[in-house]
């Protein structure tokens, strides 16, 4: 045994376990965070399922033969079906029929369907009927965005089992911003965009936590070294001290936002190559209009910038309440769940498919907004982005106002958070 090892180990454990920050940060937070994440996911799955059950499948029968009627009859036995005749896929979209039936998927039975099935049954095995399924792509990298398409596939597999093996094949296509892209299924697109929707939230997560650490350290260092105290006795405007601190971090935040966007753009560009769609061609996000426009990038950049700014301002305020660097870092650590939970949840979920209450919580957390914005600029939903920017900007102004009040009084030197004071009392007893 190493000499003194046990003694040192026990002392280290005592030190660590008695530090409430470590206890809360390492044990309590994860205990809360994962159940919360699980709860959110559970809700989402439930919502997606109920919606899929309630949903109406729009069937366009352009064949109107015996077999198409048998096929429609089979579909009708397993789900809600609404049948239209002699309509082109594009006019289904143009006439807004999907919205009318609250559906995100429709199926088209092309003319010749019954003929093909009759010939198949007569022994021409290589002649099969084809059904075209169209899914609306809503921009999400959400895990449930392909639900409609796979339900159709499952039902048709059932039909084939009942009638004849492989008698009907499905060709999946997507509807992107009102335009049909043949041969690319929604789930392929979602899979492709999942890569995007993982990379950006993680980058934002890392950037925000890192920036907060830097800002908190910089303020706490001034307090610890008493350079702040010295500054406060000079004839400098106190707001200038605060603004100087925040502005330097604004510059860093600006550079960081631009760097992230350049990397993001590069990644989207390189994702566009060589991913095979159903038709054997390749999917190109740029050609499909699934990358942000220049305006979209600018909005996303502004959203990133304000979010960083709000995080930095909050870190400055929080670290003003601590006496040293370690305390400040632990204190800003309490904000991290608010960064992590939306980032992790929004990787998998489409915020629009969430129950209203949970949706409201996500919108209330400022750090959700660049992630929401990243999805919204792809689908061209600029209203969401602008709302987010305004919300985060107002949040930032409030925090900055609190910070300036704090710097104007002696609180900047004497303020301590409640639990700190409570602890001090315990010691003196």
């Amino acid at each position: 045994m190493l000499k003194g090892f046990t003694t040192i180990l026990i002392k280290e454990l005592k030190e660590l376990m008695r530090d409430p920050k470590i206890l809360i940060g390492m044990i309590v937070l994860p205990l809360i965070m994962f159940p919360v994440l699980g709860l959110v996911m559970g809700f989402a799955v439930q919502t997606a399922q109920t919606e899929a059950q309630r949903a109406t499948l729009l069937v366009v029968d352009n064949d109107c033969g015996n077999w198409s009627q048998v096929f429609v009859g089979y579909l009708n036995s397993t789900m809600n079906v609404e049948v239209l005749n002699n309509t082109s896929p594009q006019s289904v979209i143009d006439r807004g029929l999907l919205a009318q039936y609250n559906s995100s998927t429709f199926v088209v039975i092309p003319s010749g369907f019954s003929d093909n099935l009759t010939r198949h049954n007569a022994g021409e095995w290589n002649v099969t009927g084809v059904v075209n399924a169209y899914g609306v792509f809503n921009g999400g990298g959400g895990i449930f965005s392909g639900v409609g398409g796979s339900t159709v596939t499952a039902v048709i597999a059932g039909f084939n089992r009942a009638v004849a093996p492989d008698v009907v094949a499905v060709s999946q296509s997507s509807v992107i911003k009102g335009t049909i892209t043949e041969g690319v299924s929604v789930s392929v697109l979602s899979g492709l965009l999942l890569t995007q929707s993982i990379a950006l939230p993680i980058t934002i997560m890392v950037m925000l936590t890192y920036a907060m650490q830097i800002a908190a350290t910089s303020v706490a260092m001034e307090k610890e070294e008493k350079t702040l105290e010295t500054l406060l006795t000079t004839p400098v405007d106190r707001f200038a001290i605060l603004m100087g601190k925040v502005s330097s971090t604004i510059i860093v935040a600006g550079v960081a936002a631009v760097t992230v966007l350049i990397g993001y753009n590069y990644m989207l560009g390189s994702l566009s190559v060589g991913i095979a769609g159903n038709s054997g061609g390749s999917v190109d996000l740029v050609a499909l209009g699934l990358v942000p426009s220049v305006g979209g990038y600018i909005l996303l950049g502004i959203s990133l910038f304000f979010t960083l700014l709000s995080a930095l301002a909050l870190a400055v305020v929080m670290s003003a309440f601590s006496e040293n660097v370690r305390g400040a870092q632990a204190l800003v650590g309490y904000i991290y769940p608010l960064i992590f939970i939306p980032a992790m949840a929004l990787i998998y979920l489409d915020v629009n498919s969430l129950p209203l209450a949970i949706k409201a919580i996500f919108y209330a957390i400022p750090y959700s907004h660049p992630i929401l914005a990243a999805k919204a600029v792809v689908t061209g939903d600029y209203g969401t982005v602008v709302f987010g920017i305004v919300y985060v900007a107002v949040f930032t102004i409030v925090i900055m106002y609190i910070a300036s009040r704090l710097f104007a009084t002696e609180k900047i030197l004497t303020a301590k958070l409640k639990f700190g004071r409570g602890k001090a009392k315990q010691h003196s007893e």
């Binding site: 070294e225 008493k226 004839p235 400098v236």
Partner: protein, 243 residues
């Protein structure tokens, strides 16, 4: 003649703790005034009130006839403060620190180069001023900060334990500087210290603070005579009550 510092029944309450309990004293211009007293007596709290960092709970503080509580901006133009146990910016060089602080502390029309040259002279750090402050020893940092506090020739310099952590020679050097500064530039100095030798040598008058109250005040010589003691340490011990 107007007073440099006029403190009238200062009290300061921090939650449950009464840090100051009716402290009054006057400092004349050109004086070196020393605050002594045990740990936690309220010395730093007094100095912070004078430097406009915190406000007294009750009482009045006037610096050259200006109310420091009501007009902190004006007060900040004529004082400089050296906090106890303070540091510089670790990633700035000593010289950069002096330049930075000179710009903030000086009036617009001052000759910054002369100010900084003066600081270079005072701190005696020589070429090490070009190194980052994080490479300095404790004493080197202290010398840098004392130089910073004096270089702008404030009307009132408030020094909280200026020579703490300095070796004998450098403490001596700093004392000489403070003394000559007062003589040559008419600076008034208010300092706190735990070094009775230093206080006896430097200060024209001394106040002994204990538990937030000013217990005795006077010239070092007079205090020694009054308490029939050989040095200030003995006076201190007799007043505070350990002896």
């Amino acid at each position: 003649m107007s007073l440099a510092v006029e403190a009238i029944s200062l009290t300061k309450q921090f939650g449950q703790i009464r840090a100051l309990d009716g402290v009054s004293f006057n400092i004349k211009p050109g004086e070196i005034y020393g605050l002594i007293g045990p740990n936690g007596a309220g010395k730093t709290t007094t100095l912070r009130i004078i430097c406009t960092l915190i406000k007294p709970t009750t009482g009045t503080i006037k610096i050259f006839n200006q109310d420091a509580t009501k007009q902190p901006e004006k007060t900040r133009q004529i004082i400089s403060y050296l906090p106890e146990e303070s540091g510089a910016y670790p990633n700035l060089t000593g010289l950069e620190y002096l330049q930075f602080m000179a710009k903030l502390q000086s009036k617009p029309d001052t000759n910054l180069k002369a100010t900084i040259d003066e600081a270079i002279q005072i701190c005696g750090l020589g070429d090490r001023l070009k190194d980052k402050a994080k490479t300095y020893s404790k004493g080197m940092k202290r010398r840098l900060l004392v130089a910073r506090a004096l270089m702008t020739r404030p009307k009132l310099a408030v020094l909280d334990e200026p020579a703490s952590g300095l070796d004998v020679l450098h403490a001596y050097h700093i004392r000489e500087i403070v003394k000559s500064y007062v003589k040559e530039h008419g600076v008034t100095v208010l300092m706190s210290s735990h070094n009775m030798l230093e206080v006896e040598y430097l200060c024209n008058r001394v106040a002994l603070v204990n538990k937030g109250k000013l217990v005795v005040e006077g010239e070092p010589k007079a205090l020694k005579a009054k308490f029939n003691s050989e040095n200030l340490e003995e006076v201190f011990a007799k007043v505070v009550g350990f002896a």
